[in-house]
Each structure stands twice: as C-alpha cells, then as structure tokens.
C-alpha cells in the first residue's frame, strides 16, 4: 500500500478509561486518521473497553471525560460505535432493551454507542483495510 492510499480503519478498544490510556490514544489516532483523509468504518468496544460507553462517567472537572469525548467524536463524524454485548452485560453496561430483558433498575449506555455482537468485529476483520487495537497498557 503506497503512502497516498486512503484506508478504511476499524478501531477496537479493549482498555477502560482511567484504568488504561487506551481510549485517549485511540481518540488521538482516530482524529489523525480522519484528518489525513482515511475512513473509520466503526469503533468496537470489547472486554473492559465497554466501560467507555458508560453514560455515568463523571471524573473531576479538571480531568478529561473520555466517555464524553468519544461520544462527541462519534456523533460529530457519524461513526458507528459498538459495545460487545457479552462484555457489556458482564460489566454492567446495558441499554434500554437489555434493562427490560433482565429486569434491571436502570440503563447506562451512552448515545451514540449501541450494543452488538462479535459479528461486527468479524465484519471488520473481513472488510476494513486495517483493524487497530488499543489495549490496556501497563
């Protein structure tokens, strides 16, 4: 692939905000990808990464709210953000329909994230030019 080729990316985030630097590194990468004319097919949250989709994250006012920053980024660029259903249910991230199905007291999935299966990731592996992972570092 020559340097001029435009690419389609999928970003997979497996590290949680505040427990890893993954969401912030991924966001800077995503911004640079778009700025250089590339496309982002989707963002897929897996494992602890699903915590990024929480609507209830409230860090101190002098720290960046990475969940909010990602919601804004996805919304303003109309990029799909998915939280893996199996990872999300185990970690207490649920949307309205899961709330009803499991008779839970609330839901906390932030817009525009949606809940999806691993099929979305498989689709990325098959069709995105590059799948880049942002793991828990440490």
């Amino acid at each position: 692939m020559s340097p001029q080729t435009l690419c389609s990316f999928t970003l997979v985030i497996t590290g949680a905000p505040y427990s890893s630097q993954a969401p912030q590194t991924a966001l800077a990468f995503a911004r640079a990808a778009l700025a250089n004319g590339h496309r982002i097919d989707r963002v897929f949250l897996y494992g602890d990464g699903v915590h990024l989709a929480s609507a209830l994250t409230s860090p101190p006012s002098d720290e960046v709210n990475w969940s909010q920053a990602w919601q804004d980024f996805l919304g303003s660029h109309d990029i799909a953000g998915f939280a893996c259903i199996a990872s999300a249910l185990r970690r207490g991230i649920v949307d309205q329909s899961e709330q009803q199905r499991y008779e839970l007291p609330a839901n906390n999935l932030a817009t525009p994230f949606t809940i999806a299966g691993l099929g979305e990731w498989v689709d990325s592996v098959a069709h995105s030019d590059r799948v880049i992972y942002f793991h828990n570092g440490g």
Binding site: G47, G119, W121, A126
Partner: protein
C-alpha cells in the same frame, strides 16, 4: 486472510482468555479462517484435568477440544512457554501443535490479535 489469535493471559484470573476464545469462535462461525496460539502463561489453559468449578468458573477444556469441530484451523502452543510451565504430551490436552512464536510464524497470518 487467516487470523491468528494469541492467548497470553493466565487462566481464571480474568476473562481475557475466554474473550479471546470467543473472538476465535466467532471468526470460525462466520467462516473466517482462524488459528489459536497459546504463549506465556496462556499455555496453562492447555493443562489436562482443570477443575474450574473449584473457583466457581466454567471450564474451557470442552470448548478447546471442540475447536476443530467449530472450524478453528489449529491450536498451537509456544514451545518455550510449554517447557517453562512443564507442559508435555502427558499433561497437555490432545490436538495441540507445539511450535515457536516467531516472525516466520506471524508471516503466515494477515491479521494478528493479542488481547493483553
């Protein structure tokens, strides 16, 4: 366009190994070729006679032995890690190819996943 899923996390201490397996099985379910490679502490997933219920978890031994049926191309284990953790033909579950994590191995796969 084969994918290599590397499992390097120790068993039972977190869900990373299971979630890596889920990825491999999902690829297989959608007819995408996939191979599993166990490295580092991850090779301990391959020991026979694990009793996951002792820590109130589910065993993955059955899932792993069914991997070929579900369409996973191969189960591989890094030989250095097997040596380090004393895994051999006697105490390792059947159907695992012992090999070496190396650039030559990586070269065979278009996509490599290593949850860590």
């Amino acid at each position: 366009m084969e994918t290599l899923v590397i499992i390097s996390h120790a068993p039972y201490c977190d869900w990373t190994g299971r979630e890596s397996l889920d990825m491999a099985f999902s690829l297989a379910a959608f007819d995408q070729p996939v191979t599993l490679l166990f490295t580092g502490e991850g090779v301990n997933w391959l020991r026979k006679a694990q009793q996951a219920d002792a820590v109130q978890q589910k065993s993955v031994e059955k899932n792993l032995s069914a991997a070929p049926i579900f369409g996973v191309s191969a189960l591989m284990a890094d030989h250095k890690a097997c040596e380090r953790y004393g895994l051999n033909k006697e105490n390792m579950m059947p159907g695992v190819t012992v090999t070496a994590l190396s650039a030559d191995l990586i070269e065979r796969y278009a996509h490599v996943v290593n949850l860590s």
